[in-house]
């Protein structure tokens, strides 16, 4: 009958109108500032540098300025300058650290390739999205100090991923420590048999 298609359409809109009052599936708006939708754990926005502990973020950066992420970043928005001196990292081994580590967040597209290629688990993806600034250029160029965040923060935003990373690092460090200990023991054992060279 002419108009039956129109009537069935009207019926659907009526069902939605009534449904929006009692059925949560029919009222999907999240009124942003008051209600905030929970972000999934895998959500990623701009990167940040992981430091071992919160007390001395600059001192315990995991990053060793190997500049792999700078090369692999498609839009080339990371700038690293190696430090002249070295400092001991978590396992006590002397490593370089980045004197300058800038990320230009106006160019970064949060594609997370830097995280994948970083061999030292030094750079991870943050979950911050409300970062408006007034200055278009310099305020969007995040320095090393603004980028460094403690591992504890990493545990809050990506719990499962952080746990895996810590487990893997722990095993690596244990293996490195045993190897170092074995090497030290071997070195300590080795000089005994040959006679110490005359003290020239």
């Amino acid at each position: 009958m002419l108009g039956s298609g129109l009537l069935s359409g009207l019926a659907v809109t009526a069902k939605n109108l009534v449904g929006s009052f009692h059925d949560p599936a029919r009222l999907t708006t999240v009124e942003y500032p008051e209600q905030q939708a929970k972000l999934p754990e895998a959500y990623r926005n701009f990167p940040f540098l992981v430091s071992e502990n919160a007390t001395d973020p600059m001192g315990t950066l995991r990053c060793v300025a190997c500049q792999i992420c700078e090369k692999e970043c498609p839009p080339q928005c990371i700038y690293i300058e190696k430090s002249k001196d070295k400092k001991p990292d978590a396992t006590g081994k002397l490593q370089l650290y980045p004197a300058i580590f800038d990320i230009d967040t106006s160019v970064c597209m949060s594609c997370q390739i830097c995280v994948e290629v970083c061999p030292f688990e030094a750079i991870k993806m943050d979950q911050v999205f409300a970062i408006a600034t007034t200055d278009r250029f310099d305020a969007l160029l995040l320095k090393r100090e603004q980028l460094a965040k403690p591992n504890a923060y990493y545990h809050t935003i990506h719990p499962t991923e952080a746990a895996e990373v810590d487990a893997r690092l722990a095993t690596e460090r244990k293996a490195a420590a045993e190897k170092a200990a074995a090497a030290a023991a071997a070195k300590a054992a080795a000089p005994k048999p040959p006679a110490p060279p005359p003290a020239a």
Partner: protein, 404 residues
């Protein structure tokens, strides 16, 4: 049915008391001025409310809450969105009123004014309550359509004065639409006037009083010709007030804002006010002619004052307008005029015949009354199906084959 309970005569008593302060000759003038201000204040506030209700209904249909943010400034109170029309009003007032240099200034200014003037004129004859008729005219219905007919003039002036390619094209479309829907609108009203025997709106509403078996009100809409007439009236009213399936002139997906492209600021608001007034007037007339004006639906509910019933019916019709707007896609200009000339007008003429049969067979009594109903319904259903089939020739949901 105490026709003159205190509530019923309330507004009149107030008017007489106010007018009594003035000397005799000025009383009539003051009385009518009071009536005019009452109507304008009522419908202006209804317009403000309607813009909010429209956005809320549209939003709720689309699973979102609709405007609920505007509240008292500097406080957390949000007033459930009632502040929204106020905010829109202030915005419209403070917006800069740009008139294109090449525009025809006089006509550009006159168009919204004329449109609004004619829209307000049409309120003069609508009976809002048992005693609440602004002007008691013997040819009320004719006056209503005479005032409504001049809106085309104003739309033409708006389209022509803006000197803009889009608005001229849209003005032509709007005129074609308004003219081709004037006819079904009038033809759907003729049976009512014929059956009611009078052109005066109050007379028509009085004839719809009374209830058969105490339950079914004798409104025109409950007769076969009345139902068909109301359907045609509803569709034609949608087209006359440029509402959804027929909002072709300002079809935003094609011609930016139709003949309103070159208007901004308060003139733009005037156009919308005129559109809403036109919609309210047409719905008011629809209620008066078909839904029994201020008559109560059930006999024992008659103690509620008559203007409440008129308001309720008016609101339901307006909500139906919004409900249709939220759902239906838009018709193309040629389909729109074909619908008017090849479907609505012939159907209205057939309806005229059925109304004639109805009035001639008024004295059938007893079981035969049912057959009277059936014959009238058959007389209407036949052309409806035939014309419908011709209108949608070749259009049908298709069955699709699948690759082997």
């Amino acid at each position: 049915m105490n026709a003159d309970s205190i509530l019923e005569r309330g507004p009149l008593l107030v008017r007489d008391w106010l007018v009594s302060f003035l000397p005799e000759p000025a009383r009539w003038l003051a009385g009518s001025l009071l009536a005019i201000t009452a109507v304008i204040v009522a419908f202006a506030s209804l317009f403000a409310l309607l813009t909010l209700i429209e956005r809320k209904v549209l939003a709720r249909v689309q699973n979102r809450p609709g405007p609920n943010r505007v509240g008292i400034p500097l406080t957390k109170i949000r007033l459930f969105g009632l502040g929204q029309p106020l905010a829109d009003g202030i915005k419209m007032l403070t917006k800069e009123d740009i008139v294109p240099r090449s525009a025809d200034r006089v006509l550009h200014f006159l168009a919204p004014v004329a449109l609004l003037a004619f829209a307000i004129l049409t309120f003069a004859v609508i009976p809002f309550g048992r005693h609440l008729v602004p002007v008691e005219l013997e040819a009320g219905v004719l006056y209503f359509f005479a005032a409504g007919a001049a809106t085309e003039l104003a739309v033409f002036m708006a389209g022509w004065a803006s000197r803009n390619k889009y608005s001229l094209l849209a003005a032509m479309r709007a005129l074609a639409q308004l003219i081709s829907y004037e006819l079904p609108l009038l033809l759907s009203v003729v049976p009512v006037v014929m059956l009611a025997g009078t052109l005066s709106t109050t007379g028509i509403v009085e004839r719809q009083g009374g209830w058969t078996f105490g339950l079914l009100p004798q409104w025109h809409v409950f007769t076969p010709w009345g139902a068909a007439g109301f359907a045609i009236f509803f569709v034609a009213a949608l087209a006359e007030s440029n509402r959804s399936p027929f909002d072709l002139p300002e079809a935003e997906s094609e011609l930016i804002a139709g003949h309103l492209t070159e208007y901004s600021g308060f003139k733009y608001a005037l156009f919308f006010m005129a559109e809403y007034f036109g919609m309210c007037a047409l719905c008011g007339m629809g209620v008066t002619l078909f839904l029994g004006g201020w008559q109560a639906p059930l006999s024992f509910l008659a103690f509620i004052p008559s203007y409440i019933w008129f308001g309720a019916k008016l609101m339901t019709l307006l909500l139906a307008f919004m409900w249709v707007r939220a759902t239906l896609p838009r018709l193309r200009i040629d389909q729109l005029t074909r619908l008017a000339w090849k479907f609505l007008v012939p159907l209205a003429l057939v309806n005229l015949g059925v109304a004639a049969f109805w009035s001639l067979s008024a004295d059938w009594t007893g079981a035969v009354r049912l057959t009277r109903w059936l014959i009238a319904a058959m007389l209407l259903a036949g052309p409806f199906v035939l014309l419908g089939r011709k209108l949608t020739a070749g259009l049908a949901p298709r069955i699709y084959r699948y690759a082997t």
